[in-house]
Symmetry: C2
Subunit: 569 residues, 2 copies
């Protein structure tokens, strides 16, 4: 492509409202422009990268045995009413009426459409499993669109759905999709983790989020420094390696601790380590109250409390509820002499505290010399805390580290959530009617584009991985008014195109400094500068990633460029 | 693709509500399913064809120097208010509000978005011309969606826009697009005409519609039987080859013609040929009245009347307006002794009538022996009628024939309609601010898919042109439980895929009659049946288009299939 013919409006300044690197660079390098909050136009360079990501997605989906189709964005309200989501989805679902007053949702996702489609056509186990996907624009009216196309209101997604006769078949389909996702994000040049995630209210069993590691991510991932283990921080179990203290027990002693409410305050006031303090928090678990204990240096993971009780809602008790239930203000409560009959549960790590400190259930007082085995009645020890950096990895291999992640993909065992609600059934081998068992699998295609830039940039601009660069080669004649430079540049341009490369030729009448700055911003893997030595048949090659630059005779150019690009063409 | 793995829900019956062939076949062959009125899902086979059409469109657009981008479907109302179309577009434009109550249009077309995008970035003639396109879903709330995806409410379009500094540059860009369209529709295997169309209220000069010839088309095309000439019937000029009558003039005679109002009635009543009758119709042209005469066998083309006067609105006068203006009821009015001072214009063909018949401006009476030169005052003779089959082609080559057409593409010189309304200006070489001159160019991608099927089918199903068939080869093992058939079919399947063909393997456990019927419905160019002679290495090849079928040794298969497919791979 000749640069004079296409549309790459680069900017010298960093746009004021762009907070994150990918957003800034996509604006500066002329990849996107905002139309309105959370809604963007993808300009030609971005479009080319999107097509490459889509192609990778297609190849891997096809390999995984999925067939591509294309469903509508306009979805009649009746379908969403069947699944119940018309009422539960909330304001993120964009809604409209047609000229006859009939209501529609703008596709935020396609479970309803695909389930109705398959329900109407597939009646027998003989036609299962079936795996279908599409790449399509989705609409979600985000409350706070931000970070450019990382969290927009109109974005491009790949969504796949699988239908199975048995849960074993779903397991197989899920694993195929999981593997396809690993391939897709690897081929996109991303540093990512497949993270065990919360299956939430869906009641699904298995679910993984594919997280691109990045400081701007909104989720915290706990991962092993040596194995493949990674989980959303709420989901990571902590291995119980704590032994009950067997040392000499000091005497239990109530001491005055005026206004010392937090662990930090108490540990400083009594000059005792935080891990010797017992943090006691009253939780409301559905409709009962439970006192939960963790070590002072740990945090309660309420999802674990919820799972322990199989509860629906778990919340920290309010100040009023604390006073009402344990007759003491928060900050001074503890497991000893609790003035009511509530259950007390403790994280496994609490077992190991000897001669510790805890609230005395009396305002302004704590106990020290606490040994719970002797001094209190703990109903249950369990894994109740958030994992921490430095903990052992739950798979037994290596040590846990934390990272922030951008979710780019999600694989999910839906089960029969939609097939039961919408009557998507089939006759099994014994002629019995069964609901289809479903999986769903999403990839944020446009978000992946931003995530790649987030991981591949330097102070001068984007640094594209060769696999998804909009073009592989940027040819820059220093002076287009000089005939030998112009002609050599054009002849190289044509030669490279004929050899199957994608090439951008900067044929603009601009100062070479502007061209170089734009080239660095745009970030194509190889830059070829045609300057004063054009007449001698010598050009300069610069590798964007390493910054390495050298002169080369044009006769050696093709083989060298091929080598640099890793023979990927 | 193995048929057991994908989703091709064929139907034996013709769906009751599908009126046209392409709609019936797309439903029966499992290409589409309706979600709701005018909204469809494209199932895997249709999706594959869409991708092929899109690929052809991309290649030709790129060759024409256009760059691909991707604009949003959500378009803020403010943009449409700037162009004025928020108010003028009517109920076809789907509108919605976001969670903050802000108004949006769902992209029915993208003139506003692209004009604002280019306006903000392009300031100098140096960056023009610029040609941009996208392939994208469009939304138009058709009053009466029909014919399946031929006229839907959500459909796929390619829309291109070009921006120019001069009208010469626009002419050049228009011609490039015109040529690209010729290539695109030819490569899609379509029998089409580039038809001169009405530029309508846009005030554009040149506009062509690309019409696929089909009896179900909603537009009538007048085309030459020997040249490339084709025009929308309203747009075709009629060559004036009429000579004034010089024969002997009969005497003018008023005769009683009670209740004989129409040309048909008069010509029967007086036993005179229709071409001897003068049809007189009163028109309201903006705010004046004009009497328009055509020969009894011709029809007034009101667009020609409109263009003659440079008028905005042209309508046939109402019964009341006729009485008020010519003091006679319609059916008996004529050019002789008109009882008011209105202008009388006549189509060129009227010149040649000698001793004709016309209304006498008196209820129940006509004149015969009419010779206008002698009996009336005609203000002007001009081309005022619709062209007819058998007329000379306006380009002087051949004779006019009529055909019905489905509009699949449209190229249009927009001029400065949007750039002026939205302030898309640039500085010309002299530093003067000028509005950009624009062109727009659309292709109905999903409609093209239906149009291809409309032209390529027989009584058994679709007959795909090789260039856009979803797969080129359909391999059918007669009995998948027979190992040699199954193994040979799979081995041929793998061999053809490795040679770069696209192959569908019917590995379903179905009766062979069902498989053959489905194969004919789906309509892939070459069918290979693996039956009883599998063990001898002999299969049957059937060419879908010709019906030709023959046995062949598998050793000769690849070269024969390549030959059949016209070496297009």
């Amino acid at each position: 492509m000749k640069q004079s013919m296409t549309f790459i409006p680069t900017l010298r300044e960093v746009p004021a409202d762009a907070e994150v690197k990918s957003h800034q660079l996509m604006l500066r390098a002329g990849f996107i422009r905002q139309n309105t909050s959370g809604v963007y136009s993808y300009l030609p360079l971005a479009h080319k990268v999107l097509k490459k990501i889509e192609q990778i997605v297609r190849e891997e989906m096809d390999k995984a045995g999925a067939s591509e189709l294309f469903m509508p964005a306009l979805q009649q309200a009746e379908l969403w009413q069947e699944s119940g989501r018309w009422y539960s989805y909330g304001p993120e679902l964009m809604r409209l009426k047609d000229r006859h007053g009939r209501e529609f949702a703008l596709g935020a996702t396609h479970e309803e459409v695909i389930t109705s489609l398959v329900r109407d056509e597939v009646k027998s186990y003989k036609r299962l499993p079936l795996s279908l996907y599409q790449i399509q624009t989705k609409f979600r009216d985000e409350k706070r669109p931000r970070f450019g196309i990382l969290r927009g209101r109109e974005f491009i997604m790949k969504d796949a759905y699988s239908f199975h006769a048995t849960s074993e078949s779903l397991d197989e389909g899920y694993q195929k999709m999981f593997n396809a996702y690993q391939n897709i994000f690897s081929r996109c040049g991303l540093d990512f983790r497949a993270v065990i995630a919360d299956s939430g209210a869906m009641g699904g069993k298995d679910t993984h989020e594919f997280m691109v590691l990045s400081d701007i991510g909104e989720d915290t991932i706990a991962y092993s420094d040596t194995s493949q283990y990674a989980a959303n921080i709420e989901m990571a179990p902590v291995i119980d390696s704590y032994e009950e203290s067997i040392g000499e027990m000091e005497q239990l002693e109530k001491i005055e601790t005026p206004n010392q409410k937090t662990i930090e305050e108490i540990s400083a006031y009594l000059t005792v380590e935080r891990e010797k303090c017992i943090k006691s928090i009253l939780f409301k678990v559905d409709d009962r109250f439970v006192l939960v204990l963790v070590r002072g240096d740990h945090e309660v993971n309420d999802i674990k409390v919820k799972n322990l009780y199989g509860a629906t809602v778990v919340d920290i008790a309010t100040a009023e509820e604390v006073i009402e239930n344990v007759k003491c203000v928060a900050g001074f409560i503890g497991p000893i002499n609790v003035k009511s009959d509530i259950e007390i549960i403790a994280d496994n790590a609490v077992k190991s505290i000897s001669n510790g400190v805890c609230g005395a259930n009396e305002e302004g007082f704590h106990y020290k010399g606490v040994n719970l085995k002797r001094d209190a009645k703990i109903d249950k020890y369990a894994d109740l805390r958030f994992i921490q950096e430095g903990d052992k990895s739950p798979d037994g291999e290596g040590t846990i580290k934390f990272a922030k992640g951008i979710e780019v993909g999600h694989v999910f065992k839906l089960g029969t959530r939609y097939s039961e609600a919408m009557g998507a059934t089939f006759l099994d081998e014994n002629g019995r009617t069964q609901p289809m068992i479903m999986g769903c699998y999403g990839i944020g295609v446009s978000r992946t584009l931003a995530a790649i830039i987030e991981q591949h940039n330097d102070e001068n601009g984007i640094v594209w991985p060769t696999t998804i660069a909009p073009y592989q080669i940027h040819i820059i004649p220093v002076n287009v008014k000089n005939d030998s430079q112009k002609n050599l540049a054009e002849s190289l341009y044509n030669q490279f195109i004929q050899s199957g490369f994608e090439v951008l030729l900067d044929d603009r009448q601009e100062r070479v400094g502007v061209k170089f700055a734009d080239a660095d911003l745009i970030g194509l893997p190889v830059r070829i500068t045609v300057g004063k030595k054009a007449e001698e048949g010598i050009v300069e090659v610069k590798v964007r990633k390493t910054g390495e630059a050298f002169e080369l005779a044009v006769t050696e150019l093709q083989s060298k460029v091929k080598q640099i690009l890793g023979n990927e063409k």
